[in-house]
Amino acid sequence: MKLNRRDALFGALFGGTMVGLRAIASGLPVKMLLDPRKALADVPQGCQASANAQYVILSTSGAGDPLNANAPGTYDDSGISHPQDPAMAKTPITLGSTSTTAAAPWTTLGPSGANVLGRTSVFHLATTTPVHPKEPQVLSLMGSTIAGEMFPSVLAAALAPCLGTLQTQPISVGAATPSESLSFQGQALPTVPPAALAATLLNPAGELTNLQKLRDSTLNDLYTNVYKSGASPAQRQFVDSLVTSQDQVRKINPQYLSALASIQDNSEASQILAAVALIQMKITPVVAVHFAFGGDNHNDTALANETAQTQSGMASIVSLMQALAAAGLADQVSFATLNVFGRTMNASHTDGRDHNKNHHVSIAIGKGFRGSLVGGVQQVDGDYGAMPIDSSSGAGAASGDIQPVDSLASFARTVMVGVGVNEDLVTKQITTGTIIRGALAS
């Protein structure tokens, strides 16, 4: 029997357990879905990071925001379209030794605002996809992580043992759609909306709270004598997970719970409050948020929405930096962004932008990063794309040793090292890409 490519693909995707279809939908490789624990069995256990291990707050958007379109380095080419609003005026900005220009809101990262330009690295990348539903795959670095693990989860697994967090898994407080939700070792993770955090974690004063210890004891009795007796392995594992989660709840430091009480919605400001509190309580090493920078702005007259959200998005980053500083966490927490793709930038895009698989901008801010502009833009396929990158200096250059197709994994490797993860673990967990030394503080 002759098996053509289409039949083979169809059979692989839809036969048997539909695992191929599940793989497409979830962005996870088949190996991970079939046996996630085995797939990750070769991940080293214990702390694999330096003494400078950082918590990470990652902003991600499946909308493909135009964060790239007005970033440092995009005003050098007069063919790139920018909003004409004075609020987005071309403004000088200095990233380490690089003097360039960007839309005015970017300068709020400087002394007049967050004052973090000295530890801000701006990466010009390509995610290589223009497809919204590929957000989970982009978070898995388009196949460059071991066993298809999502980058936030790779970070979390490496950092949790060093930071001693209550749970290893990352937490998303900002996922705007199921596409932006996270997974860990093949398991979908729930999104925790900030507005529900206080009501979830705060215990009302009263006798029922006083009886918690007794209830925990009774529940353990139920678990052991009613539910685990004669249970299947899967049932026992489930009950064990309930025991673990019960223990974790009781270990939450109540000192910081009061900060959650003021959260009334799921806005970016509330996500910031939630992220900082979760880190203060040492609940998780990685918190995902969603800071909007214009969204899916195909139809955006005069790029007005892009203008407004570039300002509000930058204001959110500034607020986050200020909140971390106020909490004494400026040197313990790093911030990064990774969206599904960037947007088209040529001169025709004055009233909206389309998806751009060739160009995207990510930011990394933290103690482990050096003020730097990594890569740059060049003309690609009638629009603009990322340039090759010199891994030593971080500069964009035609002769760079990192091609755009490898820039996403290179960004991730660099971020991992920047937040303190040992390089040998980084290269095992992210199988492609090159660490960009020019973006690192040391």
Partner: protein, 392 residues
């Protein structure tokens, strides 16, 4: 049931802001056709389109809802070269053509009918656009109204299996194996019932695919999944077993701003991402589920135990006498925890709960009142794996 029809010559459309009239009426007169789930404001608000996307997302999500499948490049349905409605920008690139040859002509009737904001299409450049329907073995070149698209979706041969599979995701938190004879039997019965939802629910939930009472191909291939009860499960469970109306405030027409609905908003939930035929289903307990569930259970306990003004129709429990407490504990076990008397675990569970009640009353640090002790006992039952889990 509400009927929707187009206005007759000179007839006014239904006044959209006449809330009382809309609620009491049985007919809507609309200029913009609304013919099924994929033309409702809720659906279109969730899956917004734009000039660049040109209704492709709308069509693809409609296909996912109706058939559980999407245009993903694996369809081998025979179709003419350069079908009507094909976006020529994608016609010359083989990578693009594979999907666009189906997506573009099939979405054409959406573009001909609706504007980018899903109002009435008034642009003659689009309103006359030709198209066809071509998806997973079905080709219909006779597409001239939005009703034709609706008919093709409703009668597509993949509908029955898609909806059995969707209910599988709800019940099992993972896929059922489509070539499992049990699965196929359910599909057949669902079709034979002319798509009776009640038949589907009865057939699937009593099937070994879900009960695991006997071995099935699905269990062999998918493995045993023991999942948390997510938002919809837990809230339905509490409503059903305790006679509560909408304890989690899931009815979006009656938004609740305090109490359980606020906590429930943080519970893990089922979700379909854009372009994803398979839902995102968290299955593992987390500290947030545990903490949120405890607060919910405590609030429910305070609603049902010794409450002189419980909600209409709710089960109530009294701590007034030992007999009342025994009856309450028995109901916690048999009803809330669903451990029937024939289950050997039931008596042990009852003994543990009764012991908790007594221990709470006699707590040396902070002795509870009978009401508080029974509320705490309810909370234990409410946090048991029988309530927080599926498959225990």
């Amino acid at each position: 049931m509400v009927s929707i029809r187009a206005p007759k010559q000179g007839e006014a459309t239904t006044t959209f802001y006449d809330a009382a009239g809309l609620e009491s009426g049985s007919e809507l007169v609309l200029s913009t056709p609304r013919v099924g789930f994929f033309t409702t404001p809720a659906f279109t608000a969730n899956w917004q389109t734009n000039l660049s996307n040109s209704m492709r997302v709308t069509l693809n999500q409609a296909l996912i809802v109706a058939t559980g499948m999407q245009v993903d490049g694996t369809d081998s349905t025979p179709i003419m070269k350069n079908p009507p409605g094909l976006d020529q920008a994608h016609a010359s690139t083989p990578d693009c053509y594979g999907c666009h040859q189906y997506l573009d002509p099939t979405r054409s009737i959406l573009q001909a009918t609706y504007s980018d904001n899903y109002g009435q299409q008034t642009d003659p450049n689009w309103s006359g656009q030709k198209g066809l329907f071509a998806f997973q073995g079905v080709v219909d070149t006779n597409i001239s109204t939005i009703d034709d698209l609706a008919r093709n979706l409703a009668t597509h041969p993949k509908v029955a299996s898609a909806w059995v599979e969707k209910l599988c995701y709800y019940a099992n938190s993972e896929a059922c194996t489509a070539d499992d004879p049990e699965f196929q039997s359910i599909v057949s019965k669902f079709q034979a019932s002319t798509f009776s939802w009640k038949t589907l629910v009865e057939q699937l939930l009593s099937s070994p695919i879900v009960t695991n009472a006997t071995e099935s191909q699905t269990a062999t291939e998918q493995g045993e999944m023991v999942s948390i009860t997510r938002l919809d499960h837990l809230c339905a469970l509490l409503d059903s077993r305790l006679g509560l109306g909408d304890v989690c405030g899931l009815d979006l027409t009656k938004p609740a701003r305090v109490g359980i609905p606020i906590i429930a908003a943080g519970l893990p939930s089922d979700g379909y991402g854009r372009g994803a035929p398979v839902p995102v289903l968290p299955t593992q307990p987390t500290m947030f589920l545990r903490a949120g569930a405890e607060n919910i259970c405590e609030l429910v306990a305070q609603t049902l135990v010794d409450n002189p003004k419980p909600p209409d129709g709710a089960k109530t429990y009294s701590s007034a006498s030992d007999t009342d407490v025994d009856a309450a504990v028995a109901d916690f076990v048999s009803n809330l925890m669903a451990l029937e008397s024939s289950d050997p675990r039931a008596s042990q569970a009852a003994a543990i709960l009764k012991s908790h009640y007594q221990a709470a009353l006699g707590d040396s640090q902070s002795p509870a009142t009978p009401t508080e002790a029974l509320e705490s006992t309810f909370t234990v039952a409410c946090l048991s794996p029988s309530v927080l889990g599926i498959g225990n």
